[in-house]
Amino acid sequence: MLSALLVMAAIAIALGAVLGFAAIKFRVEGNPLVDKIDAILPQTQCGQCGYPGCKPYATAIAAEEADINRCPPGGEEGIQKLADLLGKEFKPFGDDMAAPKAKSVAFIDENTCIGCTLCIQACPVDAIAGAAKQMHTIIASECTGCELCVAPCPVDCISMVVIEEKITTWKWKYPVYALSPVSAS
């Protein structure tokens, strides 16, 4: 009886030591869930969620401090993906959130730009080229359309231009059938 208890205790201690060692040796740095959430977020870094970027929002979602329906650029599809990942219910956009907009890029009216660099400081992805008292311009291919540069401009020379569909970006549409009226008889 006693020997059985001792054997069981010895096994428990040995296994506990293995587990404890593994926990230290194979420790995961950071929260892997944050990266998974961050991968779903659209990386516009626009701050519409109330956090200073996509990563902070992802961190807040992972810590269950933020709702999953606070990212307008991600659209309803983004909410759906987050819901699937986190095992939560889909939640429509809150009333306080801006409606998702068509994808657009910022455009600087170069005739009006005074070269104040305020927009450069605001751009979260370094997509504006320019220097003090030099004309600024948007690097359209890098612009995420976050609109953060629009407000700081003292001469209101930045506008958002919706990206139009081109032949190279055109998508086949979901098949829909035209219904033809049938005479009621």
Partner: protein, 551 residues
């Protein structure tokens, strides 16, 4: 006799080819204007080389290929470029693309042409010539041919020439083989030479006996090992993978290029264009187009690239009840957004569609899981599963079921008893997946740039703090030094520097000799002495004035 193999599935739609093979290929007259898109090939759009108002010659390059995957675009006849503008092109989207509008001058004046002896030229020279001649795959895919004339990791052993032309209504390759077999064979010889292939297999469906006979006769004149093979008529036997399977028994697996298995496949019309581009130096300016369907005299035309479709169909007598036009065949073709779009390198056939000829599809009914689509699928997919996934927008699942192996042949839609437009669903799913991949790439770049910016801001802050700390430290040290020996150390050092600088300046002033002080006349010397005296006086006065307040 070669043993032929079989591919999975396939269908037998009514061929409807007889209408357009009654008369030989006619040369279409010069149209009133040419609308030449700069993007007629797979890859990057060609860069315009001409401006509105320029006069161009027939065969002059008007669009230069840009970066790796691209091809050149040429003026199909001589005339004046009236504008470079966005115009509706032959594309399913109906969206405009960049085009050159050329009004022909009727002279059809050529640029000087320079052929190339491919036997003495290097393979790279031949490929470059093809690229600059704008030669692309004329079977409909318009992939730049120069890029296909490369052996991959393994050497290409077999060159397959595709003359199967399996799609209903289309007869352009058939007529081309009947009438211009010799030129096709010469082109095949060039291709074989560049690839270093051992044999050339020419696959033609057995419903084209005249073409087979003509090609056999022409192939016999070649010194290369060429074989013209009649393959069974079965749609889509003209698909590259399917034809390779039938002729060689090689199954080209998903995600594998046929060149890796030692086989390359070209359309017969591409071979002819290759011959003209290399041997004669003629760029790709025209192609054979079948004009058929709701047409009184259906036939094939040799048409200049850029000819408006409405001018072309008028030549063949289009019937009044035509509803719209289809580019390509009834199985894989796309409805043209307008009759004013122009013939491009991909236009193998124009079908005038009427309600009688192509009645509108009956409404789609629910899938009854009969799996007839799976029976006919030449890519051995499960079309019914793909349909469910595409419909539910479960794109990841669709990819798991090899959506991208689908060649969009339409055999599944053809046999579907519920008339479900299956291919439309697959096209929708494919373009959604591509768009998502692009979005993902853009998001990854944005994340990287944002992270780097954060890091940079942090680094700058740190550097600033360090600099400030160093400055403060230096100030502190100076203060300590001052309290130690009673004199401000920093001031001492500064004073010393000033003294040094003054001494240096004096030295320099002494070393510098005033110019032009020798060989002066006595009169000039007297004048100088006078001025010096005045200067000394003024100096004295000034000195006394300055010192005055001190007293």
């Amino acid at each position: 006799m070669r043993t032929l193999h079989q591919f999975h599935g396939g269908v037998h739609p009514p061929t409807n080819k007889a209408q357009s093979t009654r008369t030989p290929i006619a040369v279409a007259p010069l149209p009133s204007k040419l609308v030449i898109p700069f993007h007629q090939h797979v890859g990057n759009i060609a860069k315009p080389l001409v401006q509105a108002g320029d006069r161009v010659l027939k065969g002059q390059m008007i669009g230069r290929p840009q970066d790796g995957l691209s091809s050149a675009v040429h003026a199909s006849t001589s005339g004046t470029v009236v504008s470079i503008e966005m115009d509706v092109v032959a594309h399913a989207s109906g969206l405009p693309d960049l085009c050159a509008i050329i009004v022909p001058d009727g002279k059809d004046e050529w640029v000087p042409l320079q052929g190339l002896d491919y036997r003495s030229a290097s393979a790279d020279e031949v490929r470059s010539a093809l690229r600059m001649a704008g030669v692309v795959g004329l079977g409909g895919a318009t992939f730049p041919s120069d890029l296909k004339l490369r052996s991959g990791k393994s050497k290409v052993k077999t060159l397959v020439l595709n003359g199967a032309e399996c799609e209903p209504y289309i007869t352009c390759d058939d007529m081309l083989m009947r009438e211009r077999a010799a030129e096709i064979i010469r082109g095949a010889e060039i291709m074989r030479h560049v690839l270093g292939a051992e044999e050339v297999l020419i696959g033609i469906e057995d419903n084209k006996p005249e073409a087979i006979a003509a090609m056999q006769q022409a192939a016999a004149t070649s010194t290369d090992h060429m074989e013209v093979i009649a393959v069974p008529t079965l749609y889509p036997g003209g698909g590259a993978k399917q034809l390779i399977r039938v002729l060689t028994g090689i199954e080209v697996a998903a995600g594998v290029r046929s060149t890796e298995l030692g086989v390359q496949c070209f359309n017969v019309a591409t071979a002819l264009s290759t011959y003209r581009a290399i041997q004669l130096g003629e760029p790709l300016l025209s192609r054979i187009v079948t004009v058929t369907g709701n047409i009184s005299d259906a036939q094939n035309f040799e048409v200049l690239i850029g000819t408006p479709v409405n001018e072309l169909v008028a030549l063949a007598g289009v019937l009044p009840d035509t509803r719209h036009y289809i580019m390509g065949g009834p199985m894989m073709g796309i409805p043209l957004p307008a009759a004013t779009v122009s013939v491009v390198k991909a236009t193998n056939c124009i079908i005038a569609a009427s309600d009688k000829l192509f009645p509108p599809a009956p409404p789609a009914m629910p899938c009854i899981r009969c799996t007839r689509c799976a029976d006919v699928c030449p890519a051995e997919l499960q079309p019914q599963d793909l349909y469910w996934f595409a419909k539910a927008k479960e794109f990841g699942k669709a990819q798991d079921y090899h959506l991208f192996d689908c060649i969009e042949c339409g055999a599944c839609s053809y046999v579907c008893p519920s008339h479900i437009p299956l291919v439309q669903y697959y096209r929708f799913a494919k373009s959604e997946i591509w768009a998502r991949e692009n979005d993902k790439k853009a998001a990854d770049i944005a994340r990287e740039r944002h992270d780097y910016r954060q890091y940079r801001i942090e680094r700058e802050k740190q550097e600033k703090a360090e600099k400030l700390a160093a400055k403060e430290k230096a100030a502190l040290a100076a203060k300590e030094a001052q309290t130690a020996d009673g004199t401000p150390a920093a001031d001492n050092a500064a004073q010393q520097k000033i003294q040094e600088a003054l001494a240096l300046a004096k030295q320099q002033a002494a070393a510098a000799k005033p110019q032009n002080t020798e060989q002066l006349t006595p009169q000039q010397q007297a004048e100088i002495a006078d001025i010096e005296a005045r200067r000394a006086r003024i100096h004295e006065i000034a000195q006394s004035h300055v010192e005055h307040p001190k007293e």
